[in-house]
Amino acid sequence: MSAPRLRATPLPGIGVQYDLVTKDQRHLSVVAHRDGARTVNMYRADDPDSCAHSLRLTGSEAGVLIDALKPSHHSASLLYTTDLGLVAERIEVAAASRWNGRVLGETRMRTDTGASVVAALRRAEAIPSPAPDFRLAGGDILIVVGTREGVDAAAAILGRE
């Protein structure tokens, strides 16, 4: 079998379109817009020139999707050990989060979920093992380690508005 080929078509004024025909003859295309947005298109079976679905992603959404599509990648986890059953994940504190401006202890994260925050990334700076009196700010990225369920619960807590 030959290697899959990505065909590029320039779309003047919009960007570039990349077409892919899969092994079972399905057509897929991605339009790379100049502004960094991406549109993922699937074609209709009865009208192969026309899109059945057309999904527009922002540049950062496309980045997350690319991560997920990489065969070597397991979600956003930094550490994944099936033996130990522990995962580490980067979780962002949104600007709209209720924790923006409150201290870490208030989230009661370790007590309620068993997951702990091992580091906080703030702009270029990394704060290792932040204490309960560490004041969170919107845009902080927390590295949370725990069981799969624990980390998911921690993400839910941090996502509260």
Partner: protein
């Protein structure tokens, strides 16, 4: 005192435009028809005649045209233009034949003379890239296989504008054959030179203009464009073409940055331009030309659909896609008004402005509808025709039933 009136008038125009634009967005329409209508309402013979801000609005309108063309140039690299010209020129020629000729013919039929014929030919020829790009996005067709065909037709039209606008400028200025051909030679030479320089040295020019500071980038690009536009105007080449060529010459990061910075400015001044055009049209002059405008609109909607069908067939698109291509190309808008504006400001044929206004009003509204419905309607009609042919052969119909399960 005078300046207070000016501020009040200009402020109310902008505010009214903003509210209209919002209303248009709610119904996902192009705001262009509403801006034109607003101009009609404000201007001479309208509901609210303006006095103090007239000159100010006129200058704003001029900048609007320059920015429209600059942004158009920024959308394309010189490479895009050259490849398109090489591989799609037959589609461009068919487009010109099918759509410019009806406009010219109607002008001659109305006894307006050759200059008005050339102007009206341009009005009916050039589709609205702005409206069409938006409609393609709204309908989720950016990824469709016929979209490159649609875009290549638009690119060729835009390129053709670089040759066509100087011709019109010379004609409406009443330049003689010699002066006219000299202007044309200058324009063609300039366009050719800019394309050549942009392909070869685009990076050097872009590096010269480039700046990390948005403020400086904005000032340099805007200053350069308006300066070149002014020089072009002085040479009778048309300011718009000068601006278009500046846009083409800039590429890469600079084009990207300038695009982001100038988009809001373009939107502001382009809106002012549409209002200005409406201002100069007396609403009372529209009803008499409404019927010819409607006839011309229907005729040239049909010829555009035919153009798109032909161009898509040439590119190997299936029948449904051909109809979609045709339907998408119907909208006329900003450039028809730019062309008509040249004739109106030169005082060519008094009914031409109102006719162009009515024509654009009709097609900018119909365009998105034809983009959506041409293919289903065409399919419906061809199905009906096929069914009628099949009636005398009931055997064939009976055979088809199990297939439908």
């Amino acid at each position: 005192m005078h300046s207070a009136v000016l501020l009040i008038e200009f402020g109310s125009i902008l505010l009214a435009l903003g509210l209209l634009g919002r209303a248009a967005a709610r119904f996902s329409l192009s705001p262009i028809p509403l801006y034109l209508l607003a101009g009609l309402a404000f201007g001479e013979g309208g509901l609210l005649p303006l006095g103090a801000s007239e000159e100010f609005v006129a200058t704003g309108a001029e900048i609007g045209v320059i920015l429209l063309l600059l942004m158009l140039g920024l959308e394309y690299t010189a490479g895009d233009l050259v490849t398109n010209l090489k591989s799609h020129y037959p589609a461009g020629l068919v487009d010109m034949m099918f759509n410019a000729v009806p406009g010219a013919a109607v002008a001659l039929l109305m006894g307006w003379g050759p200059v008005a014929a050339v102007v009206l030919a341009g009005v009916t020829w050039i589709s609205s890239s702005g409206v069409i790009a938006k409609v393609l996005g709204d309908l989720g067709r950016v990824g469709n296989r016929e979209t490159p065909v649609i875009l290549s037709v638009l690119v060729l039209e835009d390129l053709a504008m670089a040759v066509y606008l100087p011709i019109v400028t010379a004609l409406v200025a009443g330049a003689g054959l010699l002066a006219g051909s000299l202007t044309l030679a200058i324009a063609l030479g300039a366009a050719g030179l800019v394309l050549f320089v942009a392909v070869r040295y685009g990076r050097v020019i872009s590096r010269f203009v480039s700046s990390d500071d948005p403020e400086k980038l904005l000032l340099v690009v805007l200053g350069l464009t308006i300066l070149v536009a002014g020089v072009a105007q002085q040479l009778q080449v048309s300011a718009a073409v000068g601006a278009f060529l500046v846009g083409i010459a800039l590429s890469g990061e600079v084009a990207e940055g300038a695009h982001t910075l100038l988009s809001p400015l373009r939107d502001l001044f382009a809106a002012v331009f549409f209002v200005f055009f409406g201002l100069h049209t007396d609403p009372a002059s529209i009803p008499p030309v409404l019927l010819p405008a409607l006839a011309l609109a229907l005729l040239t909607a049909a010829t555009k659909i035919a153009t798109g069908y032909w161009a898509a067939r040439r590119a190997g698109i299936s029948v449904k896609g051909r109809w979609r291509t045709g339907g998408a190309l119907v909208a006329r808008g900003e450039f028809s008004i730019v062309i008509a504006g040249l004739a109106v400001s030169a005082g060519i044929e008094r009914s031409l402005g109102p006719l162009a206004t009515a024509y654009v009003l009709i097609l900018v509204v119909i365009g998105p509808l034809t983009a959506r419905y041409t293919e289903p309607v065409a399919r419906h009609v061809t199905d009906r025709l096929a069914a009628r042919k099949r009636v005398p052969q009931p055997v064939e119909e009976a055979e088809e039933v199990p297939v439908g399960d």
